[in-house]
């Protein structure tokens, strides 16, 4: 059972209280962009075996969206952070590097 902390309301809860929302930090493209960019945004996913930045919603709580950094190979949670950002904050990156020295970054 995953345990996440909602950074919006501060509640620490089991995954049944949250809804997963897929990959975070997608760059949005509108319908007037190129086919490739639009396909990237709509469909293509990193889906890494390892460190994953993802969106979650505190569905049965405050209802707000947030982001989590998590390892898909071990289910370790590195931390959660505000959704009002376009890239992971420095302290999350530092935590990940501490646990995963070989991690090549999120790009």
């Amino acid at each position: 059972m995953l345990v996440l902390k909602c950074p919006n309301c501060g509640v620490i809860a089991e995954e049944t209280e949250f809804a997963a929302g897929g990959e975070a930090h997608l760059k949005r493209f509108a319908s007037d962009s190129g086919d490739d960019e639009f396909t990237d945004y709509m469909f293509r996913r990193k889906n890494p075996k390892g460190v994953h930045f993802e969106r979650w919603r505190h569905a049965y709580g405050c209802g707000k969206w947030f982001h989590a950094a998590r390892c898909t190979a071990t289910l370790q949670v590195f931390g959660t952070y505000s959704a009002q950002t376009s890239e992971p904050p420095a302290e999350i990156i530092a935590t990940i590097k501490q646990h995963r020295p070989d991690w090549k970054g999120s790009k």
């Binding site: 293509r44 996913r45 075996k49 190979a73």
Partner: protein
């Protein structure tokens, strides 16, 4: 390869079973192959088999990081059916189902195909309307299905409770020629026949890199060294994104955990397969007497081959209302597999941005039923270098071009 037959059993009985051969050897990899297939699950082995049988290509290596059939092929609930809504899906799943009918004879290996009938319960008005529509579509596609009412369901399946109250059974989409097969035997049967045709099945060997020169594949790096190839087929289900990353492209796939469980064995009590999509519960009884139960996927990306317990709880809780007699059953085993989900819940078969690399993935939660048809279409695609008629609608380009084969809406849930 010595044929399996009733005579062979009698012969071996007379000499204390000393004459059985290994079903397939464990060869060391050669320096180069015409085709390398990554992934010795059902789909990979079927691809190898039909490449050899239909297209005469036997200089093939099937590379597997674990043991053959140890991934989703050995982790599913073995349901075989072809009652899909979209024409493209019906074509490939019906091809697969019809190949399953005589696969035991074709492979000389008893895969225990049991066309006992698949019943997809309609437990909401929406679902009922959906299945009535599917029956019409199936009729146009030449797939034999019918919609049966609650009384007929109760007659065929006395242990069911059709009254609800939460999930009343309003009817069912019935495919009489659907059923189950022995999942391990499908992998083993293909593997044995592939080995007999000269294909190398290389187990316990993980692909660690894909070699590409001038936009064309030249081989793979593995834990047993570099192996060259002219064509590379990536057939690795939940690990497709990892292999694609090695080859330098990205797939419209997310990997999720899907779980199943079996009960202690009990006397025969149901001789059909039941799918209850509203509650994400799938149940059939194995030949050993175990109730085989499948559930829904977790919501988050996961490579660990284990899922969240609350999904098991939800599935079983809902099934107990529909099948009250299972409430006291003990569960023996529970496991998870990593399924490769696409946005439209249909597979991807075909070419990739790298010349010479082909993918067969995205079967998601319903790949087992498709194994023979998938291998058939993938083999034709790899052999010709161009999409086969069955495979063409499932190309990777469809996401860019907006040609979805939308089974997610058709099923309402994962299927």
């Amino acid at each position: 390869m010595r044929r399996y037959s009733a005579f062979a059993i009698a012969r071996e009985a007379l000499r204390y079973h000393t004459g059985w051969e290994r079903a397939w050897p464990s060869p060391a990899p050669k320096a180069k192959y015409d085709v390398i297939i990554v992934g010795a699950g059902g789909h990979g082995l079927a691809t190898a088999y039909y490449l050899a049988k239909n297209h005469g290509i036997t200089n093939i290596a099937v590379i597997e990081k674990g043991w053959l059939g140890g991934g989703n092929t050995g982790r599913n609930t073995t349901i075989i059916r072809s009652n899909y809504l979209q024409d493209e899906s019906a074509a490939i799943y019906e091809k697969a189902r019809s190949l399953y009918e005589d696969l035991s004879q074709d492979l000389n290996y008893n895969i225990m195909f049991s066309p006992r009938g698949v019943m997809m319960l309609a437990q909401t008005e929406h679902e009922k309307r959906g299945y009535l529509r599917t029956v019409h579509a199936n009729r146009a596609q030449g797939v034999t299905t019918e919609f049966i009412g609650p009384e007929e369901i109760k007659r065929r399946l006395p242990i069911i409770n059709i009254d609800g109250p939460r999930y009343p059974v309003l009817g069912a989409l019935w495919q009489a020629r659907g059923g189950t097969a022995r999942h391990d035997a499908v992998a083993w049967g293909y593997a044995r026949k592939c080995a007999a045709m000269g294909i190398d099945i290389i187990q316990q060997t993980e692909v660690t890199g894909v070699d590409v020169a001038n936009g064309k594949v030249t081989g793979v790096q593995t834990t047993k060294g570099a192996i060259g190839c002219n064509k590379l087929a990536i057939v690795v289900a939940g690990n497709s994104s990892v292999l694609a990353e090695m080859a330098g492209f990205r797939l419209p796939i997310e990997s999720l955990a899907l779980q199943a469980l079996v009960s202690e064995p009990i006397k025969p009590c149901m001789d059909v397969v039941v799918m209850a999509n509203t509650v994400h519960g799938y149940m059939s009884q194995s030949d050993k007497g175990e109730m085989v139960i499948g559930g829904g996927t977790d919501g988050f990306n996961n490579y660990t081959q284990r899922g969240s317990f609350h999904h098991i709880e939800e599935t079983v809780r809902a099934l107990i209302e529909t099948f009250p007699m299972i409430s006291r059953l003990k569960m023996l085993r529970q496991w998870g597999g990593i399924v490769d989900m696409t946005g439209d819940r249909s597979p991807i078969i075909g070419k990739t941005p790298v010349d010479g690399i082909f993918v067969n993935c995205g079967w998601g939660t319903g790949g087992f039923k498709a194994i023979p048809g998938s291998g058939w279409a993938m083999a034709a695609t790899v052999a010709k270098g161009e999409p086969d008629a069955l495979a063409a609608p499932f190309s990777l380009d469809r996401f860019k071009e907006g040609r979805f084969i939308d089974e997610s809406v058709a099923a309402g849930v994962a299927h």
